[in-house]
């Protein structure tokens, strides 16, 4: 059975754990660098990206995460997780892991009143995916090696680069496990 780590500094960790367990994967909450060595894939959950980034810096997790990703560990970031993975954040100098060659804009759709649900066409899925966007980022620019798997208007909201997957929406807040399955297939 695959063992998937969920970075557990802050955010909707429990929801990711639940959906992983529904897919018969083993989930491990990760708070320390050495726990990164015990997993087959890593999820960076939804949450407040400034908080998760600061805590990851204070507790020495940025470099270790970057290095396991460099070594080929599959990783999936949702919302705040996407922001952490991005190589550049427009209008912010907060620390990033930088494993994904994209520019993201935080809170791109606005504040909470502009948070929304919309069905999304996702490449590789045969029916629309229920997109839940909460103070969500979007991708403004993608590098040459980045595939866009879903977009709203001109803005990518799901991208993949090698074994790194990111969505600006929250599959963990739905009961649809298809995108988590895509992560499991990258192992």
């Amino acid at each position: 059975m695959s063992r998937i780590g969920v970075l557990a500094l802050q955010g909707d960790v429990r929801e990711h754990v639940n959906i992983l367990e529904s897919l018969d994967a083993d989930a491990l909450e990760v708070k320390k660098p050495d726990e990164l060595l015990e997993i087959d894939a890593l999820i960076l959950p939804g949450g407040e990206s400034t908080t998760i980034a600061k805590m990851a810096v204070r507790f020495g997790l940025i470099e270790p995460i970057r290095s396991v990703i460099d070594e080929g560990l599959p990783v999936y970031g949702t919302c705040a997780g996407m922001i952490l993975l991005a190589s550049t954040i427009s209008d912010s100098d907060q620390p990033v892991i930088g494993a994904l060659d994209v520019v993201v804009r935080r809170n791109a759709y606005g504040r909470q009143n502009e948070s929304f649900e919309a069905p999304l066409d996702v490449e590789g899925l045969d029916s629309p995916f229920p997109g839940v966007f909460i103070r969500a980022p979007w991708v403004e620019k993608v590098g040459a090696d980045v595939e866009v798997l879903a977009a709203i208007d001109d803005h990518p909201v799901m991208v993949r680069q090698g074994r790194t997957l990111a969505t600006s929406f929250h599959p963990e807040l739905t009961d649809d496990g298809r995108i988590h399955e895509m992560l499991l297939e990258l192992i």
Binding site: A8, E15, G47, C79, Q112, E114, F116, R135, L173
Partner: protein, 293 residues
């Protein structure tokens, strides 16, 4: 695209889990909170300790102050309205706050009714002392619950009491047969549908944070250990001798609540916590938690 759905309202609270929401009264405090790692700030005119000290009617904040705080930080900005004051809530929604706290810390505007929170796009958080109160608020549309505790006292005892009460009552409901749930709903004054949901899932249908009296990193760890999803800190940060230090330490203790070495480390040399108040010294009329129906 559909906005204001249950899922996006409750979803924002799910994203705040494991975090600390801090009371701030100006843009400078908001920046200190964000820098320390707060997941959100609560904009209000006076922290509860000062409301308690100054007396008078406590109301929604000046919209200018909320604008300044929104401009100063990127984390979600919450703000308080008075219980039952749907016009204040509507103003806060129009200002684009991310969550409205229909709060007993302010002077109630309606002594019988809370706001119909289903009517708003902006999600609401409400205080509760027990399961019945929590489920009434959820029945009115609250997308997040917090313990009431006793705000502005720096004394965690009431928050502990409220969290233990909610947990015990959830356990009791979970062990009931279906035929018992209607009388349980009647006895606690809660909607039967939601009582049934709690009985089935063993948990509240929305996120539940601790609030009211959390003043130290160990207080935050205590509440997390009692099963709350995160922590509100009101006067505890900016009434301490070292707001930056306390803010940061409480954030770290909330994440690592079950690792006493970390809680101990962040507690070292913090200086004086906010002055506390013994519950016995409060008159009934000074207890904010009894506001709300």
């Amino acid at each position: 695209m559909e906005t204001g759905t249950d899922r996006v309202k409750r979803g924002l609270a799910l994203n705040l889990k494991g975090g600390v929401i801090m009371d701030v009264v100006n843009a400078d405090q908001a920046k200190i909170a964000e820098e320390a790692g707060a997941v959100a700030v609560m904009a209000l005119e006076r922290v509860p300790a000062d409301i308690r000290k100054d007396g008078g009617v406590a109301r929604m904040s000046d919209p200018n102050m909320i604008d300044e705080i929104q401009a100063a930080v990127t984390v979600p900005v919450m703000a308080k309205c008075r219980i039952g004051h749907f016009a204040e809530a509507a103003v806060l929604q129009a200002l684009g706050v991310d969550y409205v706290d229909e709060s007993e810390v302010l002077t109630p505007a309606d002594e019988e009714h809370h706001i119909d929170k289903w009517a708003f796009t902006t999600p609401f958080v409400c205080g509760a002392r027990n399961l019945g109160e929590a489920l009434r608020r959820i029945g009115e549309g609250a997308a997040m619950i917090r313990t009431k505790g006793e705000a502005g006292t720096g004394n965690v005892v009431e928050a502990v009491r409220h969290m233990r009460t909610i947990t015990n009552e959830m356990h009791a409901v979970s062990s009931m047969g279906d035929e018992q749930l209607m009388s349980a709903a009647r006895d606690m004054g809660a909607p039967h549908e939601i009582v049934k949901e709690v009985a089935e899932t063993g948990t509240l249908p929305v996120v539940n944070f601790a609030a009211g009296g959390i003043a130290t990193p160990a207080d935050a760890a205590l509440m997390m250990g009692l099963g709350v999803d995160g922590v509100f800190v009101g006067s505890g940060i900016f009434k301490s001798s070292d707001p930056d230090g306390y803010a940061r330490a409480i954030v770290e203790a909330t994440t690592f609540w079950n690792e006493p070495e970390v809680v101990g480390k962040v507690s070292r040399g913090l200086g004086t916590a906010m002055p506390g108040i013994e519950m016995e010294s409060l008159k009934d009329s000074e207890r904010l938690a009894s506001r709300g129906w």
